[in-house]
Symmetry: C2
Subunit: 207 residues, 2 copies
Amino acid sequence: MVDRKKSPKKTRNLEESRKEILEAAFWEIFTRSFQGVSVDDIVGKTSLTKGAFYHQFPTKLDLGYALVDEVIKPMTYSRWIDPLKEYENPIEGILAQLKNLIGKAKPSELRYGCPLNNLVQEMAPVDKGFKERLENALNYWIDGMEKELKRAKEGGYLKKDVNTRQAAHFVVMAHEGFYGMLKALDDPKAFDALYDSLKRYFATIRS
Amino acid sequence: MVDRKKSPKKTRNLEESRKEILEAAFWEIFTRSFQGVSVDDIVGKTSLTKGAFYHQFPTKLDLGYALVDEVIKPMTYSRWIDPLKEYENPIEGILAQLKNLIGKAKPSELRYGCPLNNLVQEMAPVDKGFKERLENALNYWIDGMEKELKRAKEGGYLKKDVNTRQAAHFVVMAHEGFYGMLKALDDPKAFDALYDSLKRYFATIRS
């Protein structure tokens, strides 16, 4: 590749158009699935040309990969892990976040599920590159959860013999499972049922 | 509609071709998603003509609905609920089935996830008719699970104050959550982590 210095303005514009495309793609794909959306659909939701799109993302798959790495992975972390840091007892934080972000969500939000889980279900079996990135994003979430559970243990909020890695897997699975179930069930009691049962599980590992 | 008696042979043939189409559609859609598969793809996997297909299913959506009602709903029940009836203690049965059908499954099977969960994730937000049928199939599974948990309670294997409806929701959620996670994680330890944590939950409701 030619080593050519880009002007600061051009670099900024490139960054901005990448951001604009990824934002439009996020919403289209979140609500309609990856395979159900075309490049034209996405370009049509931006102020950019198709040429500008292909300059950033030579193929639709490249866009999908960037969506996982640059949007969904950090978004999941900042939605589910960062807020836990505000809690002295991370377990309280996990339960509060589930209540805030799922329990109090409108049916119109819940019907679309979780952006990460949706892509796992749709694309992990279909494309190896997607699977690697989705696995990486999921493990990043599990790692963050484990760190918080370790902090809970150090703070004396978890039993000393709890395997924090196992627990992190289970808690993240429950987040995805909650989303997955509520996508089909229009039953306001379903969240409470799941939440109360998860609390029972937590009771077994809390000290 | 003209009330015309069908010959037994014709009726049998119609039933057989319906069955043949649904079987081919099940596999194509299970491995490649509903939106990713065309009517031509499905017809190509059968011995039938496209005319015969459209005679049975005027639209692709009609096929999708029949797939949920006639294949996935009874299949899920016979895979996850019927075997529990062999166990005096249904809780033992639930854990054994999870181990048999998920814990011991090959990665090549797990990569496709659960046929019901896949369609929930893909089609519930997209089409109302799908959502109703998927919700019905999921509730049929939850109802079956509740019946088994009630039997466990009557047999003295569950605490008397356990809300069996809540527990049924949680256990079915965990099945879907296990499938969902393992679709992304190529980690043989992940099943064990989830399984051990679910056992902890069961410990809180067992007597």
